[in-house]
Every structure is written in structure tokens, then in C-alpha cells.
Symmetry: C2
Subunit: 218 residues, 2 copies
């Protein structure tokens, strides 16, 4: 995919994936060594050393950005990877991580199903993120179960058509009062049943797809 | 919550949660025994024996049902629990499991964050489910990355306002050709970026919330 610098694989794995390996230095290793290099219980027999992309905030939060997702202190690498995959699918321009789990944690990379290599992923502190968002003309929407405005309301009043930075909080604690106060608006996903809240990745999916649809609506 | 038959807890846990335990038989156990009864790494010190609710298909797929989610052969208990939580939040009438992981698997129960006790969960075979759905007047929508119709298209043409049974396939294989052929319509969530697909729980969140919004729209 262009990011791989060097690959280690078993004889079988190197042969099976020969089409992916053109132009990459590939070394043969035993099945035992391939397993030792992998973090998974059932390794694929192929491990790549990759350059970690590290785009700068200013290069992704530009006036042409339409949709950006930021995770503030997420705890669960599976959720981080799933949000990156969903942001990619929804056509977002970038994902920003403010503290919390590393997006290049092995679990997060696997949950992203390749999307860590499709979409720019930036780490930033909150103040820099909000300043860059404002400078780029993005509207900053913060999710909160206690917000007065609902996502449906923002669809109806046209707010979701604007270029948007979504802020999502941690699984356990959501966003702090400071973050909510700093955002342009706080938004609540309506809960029609008896669940107290949505899982972080599910909430992000609902919000990012609502934005994608609103921005593409005639 | 009414489902607990008997509770085992440490002295501290029983004291801390005394308000939850009124009317339930509660036995004191050592911290070691409480940990042995639990499946988690950091046990809460409290374990309850619960009656497993087992509603019948006919009691949930009635003509008054508006929104039902069915998982066909799901593999991942975390996804099953998350979909149950999301279905509850979206105001769905029930979740149906057709094969795959048990909804009362410990991981699924934890991922549901209590929603396994909020919303009826039914196990059924596919033929019985489709027959009951049809008898109840529900429109059956099957998700498929290869479908011609998109979710946005179904919102626009009003199809999502109808009472709906959503069918979601397994993480690895999606729905089989037979299931897609048996559904009223196959539906694709639009992929605007480079991701190949969405995670099952994210896809379900997008579809169930699109239905919830369409059904509540004036």
C-alpha cells in the first residue's frame, strides 16, 4: 500500500501474497518466528514494518475540509479503529485523536480494517484542534447525552450541511464540561428506548453518516 | 431488575448495592469466590443468577411492531451486544438472532450495557422469521454492499417509513444470496471513502437510526 518498508513472511504467505509485495523488501522467516512477530492468536504468517504517517493538523484542517471526526481521550482501541473505519466510509477528511489510545495500537489498526492507511490520522491537543477548526471555518459539534439540541433537530435546521468537526468523548465519561462549552454546539443523539446511551463507535456512525447525508443533500 | 433470582456478593458489594437487592435472595461469599464466579478480570464482587427471558417470535413480530433488527449468524459477541444496545436506543421492538453467537454470552451481555433486559431478544430460524415478518406486515430490508439501492434512496422514496425488519449478515461473509433473494429489498449503505465496508455494529447503527428518524418524521 506504499507504507510498507520491509516484510517478513513464511514461505507460504510470501507466495500467496506475492502480488502485494512488488517493490518491497521481503524476508522469509519460519512459521514460529512469524507467529512471534505477530500479536494475534491466529497469525496470517506475514508481518510488515510500516512508516507511521504523521500528518500535521494544519495540513488536514484546511478550508476545504468538510467532515472531521475527533476522539477525545478514548479508552478502547477497538472503538478507535472502528471509528476510523466509519469515518473513512462516511467520506471524512481526517480523524483527530486528542489523548487516549494510540490509533496505531495493534487492536485499533485491526479494527480499522485498513482505514488507518486510507485517511489522515492526526494527534493534537484540544486547544490546537479547536483553534485550527475555527481557522478552517468548521462548525464544532460536541456529542452529549445531556444536550438540549438533538441530531434530528440539526438535520432539520440545516446545521449539518456546514463543514463540521465532530467531537466524541470517552466511553466511560463522555466529554468534559470545558469541551462542551468550547464547542459551537452540543448535540444529543435521541434515545427512543431504554438504553442510557450508545456505544462510542455506534454514536460516531450515526453522527458521521447524518453529516455525510446532509452535506450531499441537494 | 426483576430478572435476578439469587445474588452472590462480597460483604462490601452487598452493602454498596443494598438498594438494588430488595426482595432478592442474597448470599455472602468471599472475594475469591466472587471472582471465581465472574468471567471478568476486574470483578465487581456481585454475581446474579437471572431467568433468561425467552419470548416467542409471534409475540414480538406483531402488526404493531415498527422496527425489528435481525442478526444472521453473527460471530462476534461484542457486536451482538452492541447491536442490541443500539436497537434499544433506536426504539426497536425486538432483536432476533438467527444462528451465530448467543445473545446471553457474557461478552454480549456486557456490550449490551443492560439492553438485553430492556428489549425482547428472540432466537429463530430464517424461514420462521421471514414468515412471521410477512404475516406482521413488516417490510424486510437486507443489507448488502452489492445492492443497487442505497439507504439514502430508501429515505428519499419513503420506504423507510414503513414498519421494517432489518437483516444484518455476519462480519466476515454478510448475508447469503438466498437471504438477499428472500428479503423485500437489498440495501447498501453508501461508502463515500475508501473503506470496503462498515463494521456490523456501525452498519446497524446507521440503518436503525435512519429508520427511527424516517418513522418519526412528520
Amino acid at each position: 500500500v506504499g507504507a510498507a518498508v520491509e516484510v517478513f513472511g513464511t514461505v507460504d504467505a510470501l507466495a500467496e501474497h506475492a502480488d502485494l509485495l512488488a517493490g518491497v523488501r521481503a524476508d522469509e522467516v519460519s512459521a514460529k518466528d512469524a507467529a512471534a512477530l505477530s500479536e494475534t492468536v491466529t497469525p496470517q504468517g506475514l508481518v510488515a514494518v510500516c512508516l507511521m504517517p504523521a500528518p500535521r493538523l494544519e495540513s488536514v484542517l484546511t478550508p476545504s475540509a468538510r467532515l472531521v471526526a475527533a476522539l477525545v481521550e478514548p479508552n478502547d482501541p477497538g472503538n478507535v479503529g472502528t471509528v476510523i473505519r466509519t469515518a473513512d466510509a462516511a467520506g471524512a477528511d481526517a480523524v483527530v485523536l486528542v489523548g487516549g489510545v494510540d490509533a496505531f495500537n495493534g487492536k485499533a489498526v485491526r479494527a480499522s480494517a485498513g482505514s488507518v492507511l486510507h485517511i489522515p490520522i492526526v494527534t493534537a491537543d484540544l486547544a490546537a484542534l479547536l483553534a485550527a477548526s475555527s481557522a478552517a471555518g468548521l462548525s464544532t459539534l460536541a456529542t452529549s447525552g445531556a444536550a438540549a439540541d438533538t441530531l434530528d433537530g440539526l438535520v432539520d435546521d440545516g446545521a449539518l450541511r456546514r463543514p463540521t468537526l465532530w467531537l466524541f468523548g470517552s466511553e466511560a465519561h463522555g466529554l468534559s464540561a470545558d469541551v462542551l462549552a468550547a464547542a459551537d454546539r452540543a448535540v444529543r443523539i435521541p434515545i427512543h428506548g431504554r438504553a442510557e446511551s450508545l456505544n462510542l463507535a455506534a454514536a460516531a456512525a450515526v453522527c458521521l453518516y447524518a453529516s455525510a447525508r446532509a452535506q450531499r443533500d441537494r
